[in-house]
């Protein structure tokens, strides 16, 4: 276990280096000189040179890359071009809002998908199973944007069940605003999850131990709940654990549509304002979360399934 963990940990080093290099190249080199955009058309040469010096753009490429690595390690990405705020402060301020939407939505989505997947694997091959699978494929095929727009229009504007958009910093009041985006989150994600979890469960249903359980006379619901569910939870957990770090960064589209001031909204605003440092910071954060998320998943998985360690 320790040997595997060390090997897996060492493997992340070249990946970390790779993503830092790629992000640096994209934003700092190929992306061009931000001074023109910041100062406008009528900047004097002296102004441009001064700003270039302030931003460290007059240093060598290598020195700039080291500067960038320093930013990544210290989580200090400077200030936003648009709002002049410190980016690290913006991120800390946005995180609670993102989490208030993401945690309940993610929890409901996962539990509901597991329940439905278990139900359809009980009725596998029958009409209920087939219609739910078809429903999932149809659901996946509709754009997330359509769910958001129609959901907001019909449920909030037309029927008035929910506020159209907004957010309240109060710990309990905020859930009034978060309810509808959370509901849409669940609807958008459910189709994919049910389909994937169903295959995980059906993979288990065909195993020998399930046949044995049936052969010794257990009824089907005991087989499903006691044996299949327990074993199918391993792939299910690995599948969802990777998503957990991203709960911090929230949902771009849902947050910006419903006016929830989380990291998703910050990113969308940055995209609209061409706010380079913020986009770069968000890219770095999302990437690091992904790398450490998959590291955690692999380590957890190797703890559960000893075969992984040999590979």
């Amino acid at each position: 276990m320790t040997a595997y963990a060390i090997r897996r940990l060492l493997y992340t080093i070249p990946i970390l280096f790779g993503v830092c290099l790629l992000i640096f190249l994209l934003f700092n080199k190929v992306g061009g000189d931000p001074t023109y955009q910041m100062l406008g058309k009528h900047a004097s040469l002296a102004q441009i040179q001064e700003l270039r010096h302030d931003l460290g753009l007059d240093k060598s490429d290598f020195a700039q890359f080291i500067d960038f690595l320093k930013q990544v390690v210290t989580f200090d990405f400077g200030r936003s071009y648009a709002t002049k705020q410190r980016i690290s402060e913006m991120i800390w301020a946005g995180m609670p809002a993102s989490l208030s939407l993401a945690i309940p939505a993610f929890a409901v989505e996962t539990l509901l998908a597991i329940a439905i997947a278990l139900l359809v694997s009980f009725y596998r091959g029958r009409l209920l199973d087939r219609s739910i699978v078809v429903l999932c494929v149809v659901g996946i095929s509709i754009s997330a944007l359509a769910y958001i727009l129609f959901g907001q229009y019909v449920l909030a504007y037309w029927w008035g069940w929910f506020p159209i958009s907004g957010y309240d910093q109060d710990l309990f009041q905020r859930f009034k605003y978060v309810a509808l985006p959370a509901l849409i989150w669940v609807v958008v994600g459910l189709g994919v999850n049910v389909r994937v979890f169903r295959t995980f469960m059906l993979d288990e249903v065909n195993q020998d131990y399930v046949r044995t359980a049936r052969a010794k006379g257990l009824n089907e619901s005991v087989v499903l709940f006691k044996h299949v569910l327990k074993n199918a939870m391993i792939p299910v957990l690995t599948y969802v654990v990777i998503e957990i770090p991203f709960l911090i960064t929230g949902s771009f589209l849902l947050e910006s549509f419903f006016g929830i001031p989380g990291l998703g909204s910050i990113t969308i605003d940055a995209i609209h304002n061409s706010d380079f440092p913020v986009i770069k910071a968000m890219t770095v954060i999302e990437t690091l979360l992904f790398i450490f998320g998959s590291l955690a998943t692999d380590l957890a998985y190797s703890g559960v399934d000893p075969r992984v360690r040999l590979g």
């Binding site: 061009g32 727009l149 295959t199 059906l202 249903v205 986009i279 992904f290």
Partner: protein, 301 residues
Amino acid sequence: MSAQVGGGKSLWADAWIRMRREKLAMVALGIIIFYSLVAIFAKLGLIATPWDVEVAGAYAAPSFGSLKTIMGSDIFGRSVFYKVIHGTRIAMSVGLVTSIITIPIGVVLGALAGYFGGLIDEVVVWFYTTISSIPSIMLLVAFTYVLGKGIFSVYIALGVTSWVTLARLVRGEFMKHKSREYVVAAESIGAGHAIRIFRHILPNVIHIVIINLSLQFQMAIKTEVILSYLGLGVQGQPSWGVMIDDAKLELARGVWWQLTAATIAMSFIVLAFNIFGDALRDAFDPKLKMAAMPRREDGKK
């Protein structure tokens, strides 16, 4: 694909026969062909041209008076129906060009990594793990900034970011095939590496590319819509994403037709690719020959 022995059917003929039996898959194929024809005719200017002229007043509701106004009109009185048709052209071209960029990169890198192993494999795997570690939407945003907004950037950004899945799959297949008897036999009669990779192994794994293509296409269409919606995609042309973006402000005024038209047009093609992709996978999956096994999802290790 290759020479037949003793009347046996090739993998392809076999798969096609099984596909033919699936009515739903054939309907899906019909929808894909129909969308492709619409896109080609719109590109050639045979239908829905010109799309950017006034056909009615601003926000005219759908009416069955003429084909132009069957889906109503937008803020400038332009025909929503014509815009949907040109949106189809954009969407299909994004799917096609992305695939043209993705397939060579994915197949060649996957083949080299899987076949040679060792250092080449390490480097390729490092490269695609790096790319796939950066969330694709952020990478797409970065690319469209670097290249400038517009459809050309969408092509390049999608092409460069979406070969990873294909490379992974092809690499896995090459690793399985490289030590099989037929490849060893080819080596013993003097076939070099290039011949073994492209003439012997590739035809046996190319169906992976076809199955992946179907999923790739619909991912590209969905992503184009999101990018255009974010204002990073198609500029000055009627894309479904731009139409949905416009609809954001229209809904409150009771103008539902532009959003509905774009959403339905998009859903049908994505659904068709989903169903067709699933059917392709089932048709090529030899496991199904043996028993009615449950379907395995893609995207799993």
